[in-house]
C-alpha cells in the first residue's frame, strides 16, 4: 500500500455548453491538474467561481455533474486508477471509500425520507456495517457533531431541522461508512457567519477524531486555512500555486495568491461626525403587511454627509427592512426619517422628485437590477433624462463621463447587461445611481454576490467615488470584513434592534456586548490557528444550534 491515498495526475475535464442560437460546443474547463493526498491529511482547493474546484472534487469520485466529462489524466484512489475501472467498481468506491458533503444539505437530503435512513444508507449498501451498527455509529456521529438530541434526531425528516443542523447531518452521512476520503464542497458557504464557525469546528474535530482524509473546497481562503494541511489555488481550471498552508498564507509566491491573501485589507481612515447628519432615522418600528410581529424595533441611526454608515447583521436581523423603510417602500408603524434637513414622507408616493433623486439605491443582484432589454447607455441615461431633462449630445457626454468614472469607458455604451460580467454589472448600477447626483446611496449587500477580488474592486471604486462626489453611503452587509474596509460608523443589528452603534473604532473595540462579540469573533481571519483560539474564547452560544 502506498502512502498516497489520492493521486491525481494531469486531470483534464471537459463540458458541453449550449450558447444561445448556436450549436453546442465542447470546451475544456480543467486543464491538467495534479496533486497528492496522504491518508488523514486535508487538502484545500480554493478559487473563485469558474476555477473548476468542485469539478475536480467530484472527479475524485469519477463523477461529472450535468454535461461534465473527465477527458484525460489519472485519478488513483488506494492504488487503482478509478477512471479506468468500470462503473461497478466506481460504485463500490462511492459512498464507501470516498464520500461527499455538498454546499446545500437542504437540497441534498431526500425530502421524503427520514434522516437516519439516508445517513446509514451508503454504509449498509456498501456492506461496511450492518444496519444496526450503522445506526449506532450515526448516533455517535450526531453527538460528536454537536447535534441536539442525537439519539432521536435521525427519526426526523430533513425539513424538520435547521440549515446548520442539516449541514452537520450531511457530514455524519459522509462519515458514517468510515470512508478514507471525504470531499467537502463549500460545506459552510450557505450558512450565517455565526453558524458557520460551529459547523466548521465540528467538521474539523470530526476529521481529526476519525483520521479521515479530506478535500476541502471553498472560495474563502480564511476558512480553508483553518482546516487544511495543504492548499491548492486554482484559477480558470489551472493550478496557480500548490503548497503547505503555512507557505500559501504566510509566504505566497504568485501574484494571484497574494491578491487572495490580502483581499479585504483596504485601509480606510474613519471620519469624525459632522454637526448635521444627511439622514436621521428616528425611533423606527416597522412590520410587514399581514404579519403580527415587528421586524424593526425602535431603530435610531445617523448618517453624515460624505461618510459611510455600515448596517451589519445576519439574515433576519432586519437590516434590509431598514433599507425598505428609508426608501419609502415600507412605511413604518412609528418613527420618522429626516433627510437633508427635511422630514421624508413615510410613503414613497408622498415624496418629491427631489427627495427621490437625492436618495439612490444599489442592489445585491446587479443581474435583476437592470432591465435586460435596455443598453447600458439607456440605463445610465434615464436618470439624467428624468431628473435633469438632459437630451442628445449633452446626455451622451455625461454618460461617457460616468462610464469613465466607473472604469468601464465609452465602448460599453451600447452593450446589454447580459454581455457584462458580474463586477461590470454592479459598476453600471453604481453609475446609474451616481447619475442622479444623490446626497446618499443605500448599498444593499452590493458585494455579496461577487468573488472576493471583484468585490474588492467594487469597494475601492465606491471609496474613490465617495471622495469625488461627496456622497454618503448606507452600507448594508452581513460581512464584517467589508464593514472594516469602508465604514465610518457602524450599526450592529440583531433581531430587529440596533445592538451596538457608533464610530468604527469604538464599535470594533472591546468591551463588547455578547452578540457583537460572537459576530466579530466568527469572521474567519487569514491566520493559522484562529479557529481554535476563537472557540476557546467564546462567550455566547451561536443562534444556529
Amino acid at each position: 500500500m502506498s502512502d498516497t491515498l489520492l493521486k491525481v495526475r494531469d486531470l483534464k475535464i471537459g463540458a458541453t455548453i449550449y450558447p444561445p442560437g448556436e450549436k453546442p460546443k465542447d470546451i475544456e474547463i480543467v486543464h491538467g491538474v495534479s496533486f497528492d493526498l496522504a491518508p488523514g491529511k486535508v487538502l484545500g482547493l480554493i478559487g473563485e467561481s469558474g476555477a473548476g474546484k468542485s469539478t475536480i472534487g467530484l472527479a475524485s469520485m469519477a463523477y461529472g455533474r450535468g454535461g461534465v466529462r473527465i477527458t484525460g489524466g489519472e485519478v488513483w484512489v488506494n492504488g487503482r486508477d478509478i477512471l479506468k475501472t468500470g462503473l461497478r467498481d466506481v460504485r463500490k468506491l462511492r459512498g464507501g471509500e470516498v464520500t461527499y458533503v455538498s454546499q446545500s444539505a437542504a437540497a441534498s437530503f431526500n425530502p421524503a425520507k427520514k434522516i437516519m435512513d439516508q445517513v446509514v444508507e451508503a454504509a449498509v449498501e456498501q456492506k461496511k456495517f450492518s444496519r444496526k451498527e450503522a445506526e449506532e455509529r450515526a448516533r455517535t456521529l450526531f453527538a460528536k457533531l454537536g447535534l441536539p438530541d442525537p439519539d432521536n434526531i435521525g427519526e426526523r425528516y430533513p425539513h424538520q431541522v435547521s440549515g446548520g443542523q442539516l449541514q452537520r447531518c450531511m457530514t455524519a452521512l459522509a462519515l458514517c461508512p468510515e470512508p478514507d476520503l471525504v470531499v467537502f464542497d463549500e460545506p459552510t458557504t450557505a450558512l450565517d457567519v455565526t453558524t458557520q464557525i460551529d459547523v466548521l469546528m465540528a467538521i474539523k474535530e470530526a476529521i481529526r477524531d476519525t483520521g479521515v482524509a479530506a478535500l476541502y473546497i471553498t472560495h474563502d481562503l480564511a476558512v480553508v486555512a483553518q482546516v487544511s494541511d495543504d492548499i491548492m489555488v486554482l484559477k480558470m481550471g489551472n493550478t496557480v500555486e500548490y503548497g503547505s498552508v503555512d507557505q500559501i498564507i504566510n509566504n505566497p509566491q504568485e501574484e494571484y495568491t497574494q491578491a487572495l491573501v490580502s483581499v479585504r485589507s483596504i485601509e480606510h481612515e474613519e471620519k469624525a461626525p459632522t454637526p448635521d447628519p444627511v439622514l436621521s432615522v428616528r425611533n423606527i418600528t416597522a412590520r410587514y403587511k399581514g404579519t403580527q410581529f415587528d421586524v424593526l424595533h425602535n431603530v435610531n441611526v445617523d448618517l453624515y454627509p460624505g461618510q459611510t454608515l455600515a448596517v451589519v447583521g445576519e439574515s433576519g436581523s432586519g437590516k434590509s427592512t431598514l433599507a425598505r423603510v428609508i426608501t419609502g417602500l415600507l412605511p413604518p408603524r412609528e418613527g420618522e426619517i429626516e433627510f437633508a434637513g427635511r422630514t421624508l414622507s413615510p410613503d414613497l408616493k408622498g415624496r418629491s422628485r427631489e427627495d427621490l433623486r437625492e436618495l439612490q439605491m444599489i442592489y445585491q443582484m446587479a443581474d435583476v437590477a437592470m432591465n435586460p432589454r435596455q443598453t447600458v447607455g439607456t440605463i445610465i441615461g434615464r436618470p439624467l433624462e428624468f431628473y435633469f431633462g438632459m437630451r442628445g449630445g449633452e446626455k451622451r457626454k455625461r454618460i461617457i463621463e460616468l462610464l469613465d468614472e466607473i472604469e468601464l469607458g465609452e465602448k460599453f455604451m451600447d452593450r446589454y447587461p447580459a454581455e457584462l460580467s458580474g463586477g461590470q454589472k454592479q459598476r453600471v448600477c453604481i453609475a446609474r445611481s451616481l447619475a442622479a447626483k444623490p446626497k446618499m446611496i443605500i448599498c444593499d449587500e452590493v458585494t455579496s454576490a461577487l468573488d472576493p477580488l471583484v468585490a474588492d474592486g467594487i469597494l475601492k471604486l465606491l471609496l474613490d467615488l465617495q471622495k469625488i462626489e461627496d456622497v454618503a453611503y448606507l452600507f448594508i452587509t452581513h460581512d464584517l470584513a467589508t464593514v472594516r474596509a469602508i465604514s465610518d460608523n457602524i450599526a450592529v443589528m440583531y433581531q430587529g434592534k440596533v445592538q451596538r452603534y457608533g464610530g468604527k473604532s469604538k464599535v470594533l473595540s472591546p468591551p463588547f456586548d455578547d452578540y457583537t462579540d460572537l459576530l466579530l469573533s466568527s469572521v474567519p481571519e487569514m491566520k493559522l490557528g484562529w479557529l481554535e483560539e476563537v472557540i476557546a474564547n467564546r462567550k455566547m452560544e451561536s443562534a444556529g444550534n
Binding site: P20, R351, Q360, M361, N371, P372, R382, F386, A418, A436
Partner: protein, 271 residues
Amino acid sequence: MKNIPVSALIGLFFTALYFLGAIFAPLLAPYGVGEVVGDVWEPASAEFLLGTDNIGRDLLTRMIYGGQTTIFIATAATVLSFTTGSILGFIAAEAGGWLDQAMSRFVDLIMSIPTLIFALVVLSVMPVTIPTLIVVMGLLDSTRVYRLARAVAVDIEVMDYVEAARLRGEKTTWIIFREILPNALSPLVAEMGLRFIFAVLFVSTLSFLGLGVQPPAADWGGIVKENKDGIVYGIPAALIPAFAIATLAISVNLVADWVLNRTTSLKGGRG
C-alpha cells in the same frame, strides 16, 4: 433573419400559403362556393383537382373558401382573446389587491369547466352566427391569456429594476410600457401562436359538431362534417379539410416554437 431553422422555414411557408389563400380566395377559387358542378363525390380529376363533395360541389373551391372562414374566425377570436386577456392580466398584476383577487378567482371559475363544454352550453341558447362564435371563443380563451399575462407581469413586477424605476419616481405608464412590456412580449407572442392554433381547432370542432359555421357557408370543420359519411364507403373527401387544419396548426406551432426559442435566448445570456 439568418439562421432560421428548417422547421421554422417550413412553418413560415405553409402559414403564409394558407393566409394568402384565405385573403385571395375569390381570385383563386375555380368555381362558386355553393355551385353544384358535378356528381356526388367525384374523384380528383383535371377538372376538379380535389374531386367533388357530398352534393357535387368542387372540393377545392370549398376548401379555399372554407380556409377563409376558418382563418378569419380564428384570427378574430385570437385578437379578441389576446387583447382582453393581456390587458386585464396586466391590470390585475399592476393593481393587485381586491381587483386582482376578484378577476383571478373569476377566471379560475371559468377555467374549472372544460372550454368545449362551456361553449356548448352557451351556444345552446345563443344564435349561432359568426360574430357569436368569435365572441364566445375569444372570451373563453382570454382566460388562458389572462393567466399567462398576469403571471409574466407578476414575475417582472418583483424584479429589482422595476423597483428601481419606482424609486426613481417613474409613472405607472412608463413602468408598464418601458420596463414590463418589453420583457413580457416574447412569451406572449409565442402564446399568441398557440392561441391561434387552439382557435382553429376549436372552431373546426364546433363546426364538425354542427354547432359552428352554418351551411351553406363553408369552413374546414363543416366540410369534414358534410363529407364524413363518405368515409365508411372508402371516400376520403373528409380527410382533406382535416389535413388542412392539421398542417396549418403544425405550421403555426413550428413558427411559435421558433419565436419562443429565439426570444428566450435573447433575453439573457445566463438565464
